[in-house]
């Protein structure tokens, strides 16, 4: 066992000395340790006192501090004199407490661990069932220090890489002033049918709405006849039929006219007995521009033309 680890000065190092904050008025005392004013830093601290605060603040935790101590004393990480390092470490922890650093827990945990390792080093190593000595108590500490150190180096390496916006810049030129026409959404027939399915199944649930199973050609013909009548006062009945469509076409037109009459959308008039029938739209003139879309100030948010997404 290395001689340093046997130094007696550390026999109490598990105990954190009582440290209190310096009154601001006393510029010379750094801290009170065990009731005594501490007016100078311990000789084996490798930092000037006025840099202490800044310096301690730069440690990234107990492993970082420990690594610093090992490096500062030029100690091989694989052969740490635990007692000496523990002593040093506790000095720092005390100073941190004195300076009111709010990170004592992690540091104190490390202090306890160091103390444990040291005490185990002082005892003969127990032999296990296979007759082997238990692993060196320092092994785990060394493993953690090594692990931490490699990421500390990796972090330094990342910091040395050129970073966008700091060391190099992405090139950019003014984009051309060109407006793309906005394409309206495309709809598949399938989507339309799915929407219809939904609305029909809902309609079935709500009492009495019968969506009758009229053939579409009838409905389409109704629209076409309305279109034909639009803007004209009277249209001869026969003009609504086209012989070229054949018998079926004539029947569809006729049914469409009957349906329009039934719905009160057209009138059929006859000036005299046996005179020609005339058809007139009862629907008003549609003027696309003055279409009253109604006052929709209460428009539901759920009922928008576009999905929000």
């Amino acid at each position: 066992m290395p001689a340093e680890s046997m130094t007696t000065a550390e026999s109490t190092s598990n105990q954190v000395p009582e440290v209190s904050m310096t009154p601001p008025a006393d510029l010379f005392a750094i801290a009170k340790v065990n009731g005594e004013d501490y007016t100078k830093l311990p000789d084996d601290l490798y930092i000037p006192p006025d840099a202490l605060r800044v310096f301690l603040d730069t440690f990234e935790g107990p492993l970082d501090l420990l690594l610093y101590l090992i490096r500062a004393q030029n100690i091989d990480i694989l052969n740490i004199p635990v007692a000496r390092i523990t002593h040093q470490y506790l000095e720092y922890v005390n100073l941190m407490q004195a300076a009111n650093f709010d990170l004592a827990a992690e540091y104190l945990l490390m202090a306890a661990w160091l103390g444990e390792i040291k005490s185990r080093l002082l005892l003969p190593r127990p032999v296990n069932a296979e007759g082997e000595e238990e692993a060196d108590p320092r092994a785990e500490l060394i493993r953690r220090l090594q692990e931490y150190e490699r990421f500390k180096q990796a972090a330094e390496h990342i910091d040395s890489l050129p970073c966008e916006g700091r060391d190099f810049f992405v090139a950019q030129a003014q984009a051309p002033d060109y407006q793309r026409p906005v394409e309206p959404p495309q709809v598949e027939l399938r989507e339309l049918l799915l929407a219809l399915q939904d609305v029909l199944s809902r309609a079935d649930l709500t009492v009495s709405h019968q969506v009758s199973r009229e053939s579409l050609s009838l409905r389409e013909r109704m629209s076409n006849i309305l279109e034909l009548l639009r803007g004209q006062r009277f249209v001869p009945f026969v003009q609504l039929f086209s012989v070229s469509e054949g018998r079926l076409g004539v029947v569809v037109s006729f049914m469409a006219i009957l349906e329009l009459v039934k719905e009160g959308l057209i009138d059929i008039v006859q000036a005299d007995a046996f005179a020609d029938l005339h058809v007139r739209a009862r629907v008003g003139e549609a003027q696309g521009n003055d279409l009253d879309l109604g006052d929709d100030s209460s428009e539901s948010d759920l009922e928008r033309a576009f999905d929000e997404s």
Binding site: V187, E191, L200, L226, V283
Partner: protein, 188 residues
């Protein structure tokens, strides 16, 4: 510093800025001791202008100085970088359109009766603007509501020769029933 290095710095600065830089702003990049005069910068800008004469970007002088800009004639392609995701029509709009297609001529309140909710003006407006729907007339009832019908344009956009090409309502309802049956079976 030789003119080539100087030109590279000006070029790099203009591209890094992504906006116009004046000759004074370019001069400010250099320490006073090594600051090139306005004349040298101007002649280097001219040289850069010539360098980029046949490229996809060009050096242009604008009010606030000089800037690189993407050549106008590649705009149609480049602007695709900012293409918005195509919008989607809402379910409410599709239902309204489907009802107009199948039940035309139909008033807004008839659509509302079947759908069980009100139909917003935004939807009607969108359908009219898209020219899928037109006002075929007005129903002679109080308020003379508009009667909506689909257009030829609607048929074209949905690849239909006539409304008769739309699947019969009955088969759609069957689809719905089959779906409902499956749903019910799945929950048994």
């Amino acid at each position: 510093m030789n003119p080539d290095e100087l030109k590279s710095i000006i070029e790099g600065a203009l591209f890094a800025a992504g906006r116009a830089l004046s000759i004074e702003q370019i001069q400010a990049l250099f320490d006073e001791a090594h600051r090139p005069d306005a004349g040298s910068i101007k002649s280097l800008l001219d040289a850069l202008y010539a360098d980029y004469a046949d490229r996809g970007v060009e050096l242009r002088q604008v009010a606030s100085g000089w800037r690189f800009q993407v050549r106008h004639d590649v705009g149609p392609w480049v602007s695709k970088l900012w293409d918005e995701r195509p919008q989607r029509y809402s379910r409410a709009l599709l239902e309204t359109l489907a009802l107009i297609a199948y039940r035309q001529p139909i008033t807004r309140s008839e659509i509302e009766d079947i759908r069980g909710v009100s139909v917003s003006t935004a939807i009607v407006k969108t359908l009219l603007e898209r020219e899928w729907v037109r006002v075929a007339g007005h129903k002679e009832v109080p308020g003379r509501p508009a009667l909506f019908a689909t257009t030829r344009h609607f048929l074209d956009d949905f690849n239909l020769k006539s409304l008769a090409d739309l699947p019969a309502l009955a088969s759609i309802r069957d689809l719905a029933e089959i779906a409902a049956d499956l749903e019910a079976a799945a929950h048994e």
